[in-house]
Amino acid sequence: MPRSRLHRLLATPLHLTRRGALYGALALLLLLFVPLIVASSRWLHASRVDLTTDKLYTLTPGTLHIVDTLQRPLRLTLYFSEHATRDLPQLRSYEQRVREMLQEMVARSHGRIRLQIIDPVPYSDDEASAEDNGLTAANGGSNGERVFFGLAGSAMSGGLENEAMDDRMPEKALAIAFFDPAREAFLEYDIARLLYELNQTSKPPIGVISSLPVQGNPVLGAPPWAVLQQLGQLFDVQSLDASTLRSIDEHIKVLLLIHPKRLPPDAQYAIDQYVLRGGHLAVFVDPDAELDASPYAPDSTTFPDHGSDLPRLFKAWGVSYDPHKVVLDRARALQIELAGSSLNHPAMLDLGTQELNRNDVVTASLQRINVSTAGYFDLAANAHARLLPLLQSSAEAEVVPTQRVLDASSDPTSLLQDYKPDNAHYVLAARLRGTFDSAFPERAGVAGHRARSAPDAEVILVADTDLLSDRLWVEPQTILGQTMMRVFANNGDFVTNLVDNLSGSSALLSIRGRSTSQRPFTRVQALRNVADQKFLQKEHELERELADTRRRLDELQPAKGSHASTATTEQRREIEQFRQRQLAINKELRDVQHQLNAEIDALGLRLKFINIVLVPALVVLLGLLYGWRRTRHGRRRR
């Protein structure tokens, strides 16, 4: 009966509908679950806490300032070859990092930055546009495809108000040709600099007076030094000729004076007046500029004079500096390769965070600066200014005559003989702040002459020019067929920082030179260093012994003619001894090396034991103890 069936259907037991409801809820859960997770991942605004010590994933105030003060709309295009990087997980994860950083900047810009992400498939228009925009492709993708991974940016015409960005014409275009994972620490800086440059209508001019070939040599095809190339990206670098210099233009924001040698009085006067008028000067002097190729000076008989000084101006400013003194520092000696063996050079210094002023914006975020045969500054007795150190030596430093360092060029370790630390931190670079008097009071009559600067005038002094040279901070490296500059010290950042700081645009300062994510095992390294040192010492010892034997052998040589037979026997014995000793020495050296490596291996083994065996064994012990107590307890109860 249809009526009773309906009745039965309506009166189905309640628990069945409950089951139905539960099934329904399960289905709903499944249906909601996936979209909810996808939606939260994709559309939720990223709010996050950065737990990394160096805040690697948080935009620095400098970047935020640059983004906040954009004058015109920018369009960014990130090119990344998705398919070609299928087998390059490192590059893919780096792309994620780059994309996230760009998205963070876009979110902050309130529409002033527009970001587009393009996958330039081979033989597509996108690939052509990537190349047109100045990107360089790297080889080595899947199936031999080319990998594009760069950023093209363009600044649009007009102000920030009204009209859609699409209708505008690009006014200026710049690009990051390839995001090199090795430069991860500078990623934010690189992007922020791109934004900064795009936003700039013109580069601030800076002047360079140098007696070193910092600008390269166009005739010989030598490129400018990397420091100058880096400066050239941010500033309009103008070379000034010291021999004809009469005055320095007001519009020059910063003047770099590199290795001033025999500067004509007029040029010195021009610099003097530039500083007193409020111009910003950075001076690089050096007791021995290794890249100074000038030949023997007429007044020097032994060595060419490669030192520089600025005595007259230094005296007027109250700075004492001796171009015949070099700072050695055995605690910060740089490890170098010389004739196939590595050794610590006490005149070449590897300055770390301890020696860099953490409170000065110029050096605060830098990690490492390499200098070579540096001098030092001090205040003269009559000084009115203050010396604010930027780079200092450690307390283990000693000051020696320049000539001694030059004499030890073939064996720098000889500088460590009779080493007596002075227990003083020598100032290798500093800000000099105060009121400066003119070094040319006799020219008071000249029109426009200034006798004294305003209070708190500032000059930056650096007692080394070698830190500017490429060899102390960059080396070319090939990655995926591309030649890139691998940076191993912050020398370039130091110079850019100080020019940036002096020129007044310090937005980029807080970004530059963040530490990389590379954190080596310092303890193992220290072990290895000690081992190398011991090995080297032993090697020296044994080499000396061998040399002695060889000399004895040579001494026997003249006897050869007179008493041929006896001499030959003696010689033969000596030769045999020599050979035996050489074999023994080689074995000894091998043993030393083996023993030293063994120390490192033993440490590894100890750590493995502690981590893999010790704690689990303790857990077992604890379990047994607990079990034993429980059974004893149980028995007693029974």
């Binding site: 996936v34 997770i37 990394t52 954190r519 310092t522 193992v524």
Partner: protein
Amino acid sequence: MSPVNAVLRRELRSYFVTPVAYVFLVIFLVLAGILTFYAGDFYERGQADLQPFFTMHPWLYLILVPAITMRMWAEEAKGGTLELLLTLPLTLWQAMLGKFLAAWLFIGLALLLTFPIWITVNYLGSPDNGVILAGYLGSWLMAGSFVAIGACLSALTRSQVVAFILTALVCVLLILVGQPQVLDFFSGTLPRKLINAVAHLSMLRHFEAIARGVLDARDLIYFLLSTLGWLAAGVLLLDLKRTR
């Protein structure tokens, strides 16, 4: 004492009265150590971070979490104690939460016992301890999601073996789903938007995002949602059993 707390304590105690807990802890610690030092080349690569250690965690959990959670409900169902438990004055949610928290805390303890590796890396160099903290947190959150999956699937069946296999299967799927190899495999057949959506479900992706040192709200919400989602599904399954 709240019902959740009571279940939590009962469960935790049940772990430690038998040798099972100790065996799990020892296996976890030994495997973690071996994988880190040998498969991950921790000492030889000379970098003061715990990347090789954390990279191994998803795979470690793949074995250990199902082993811990398989008995959670399956054993109760088989032994007939489930009915008894359900007659007690506590809701299914409270029972589920209690059991889940016990297993999650147990894994937390296993993680805490790996502290020598943290001391080791600090002894060898100066690591970024913020990143390490994030790694531990991410690992524990991921373990939480795995435990929720195990709890749900253990409620589905009476057989512990089936529960183990199902849990391991779902976990491995969630680990693999965001891997480029898997995504590429489907790239020809599925629309790109769907593939991108699927990639967001990947447990590994969210874990790695946290382990690099950034606590992103999106990753935290992912773990929270997936833990709660699986627990809710488990409660519904238990309820279904009860109403049978």
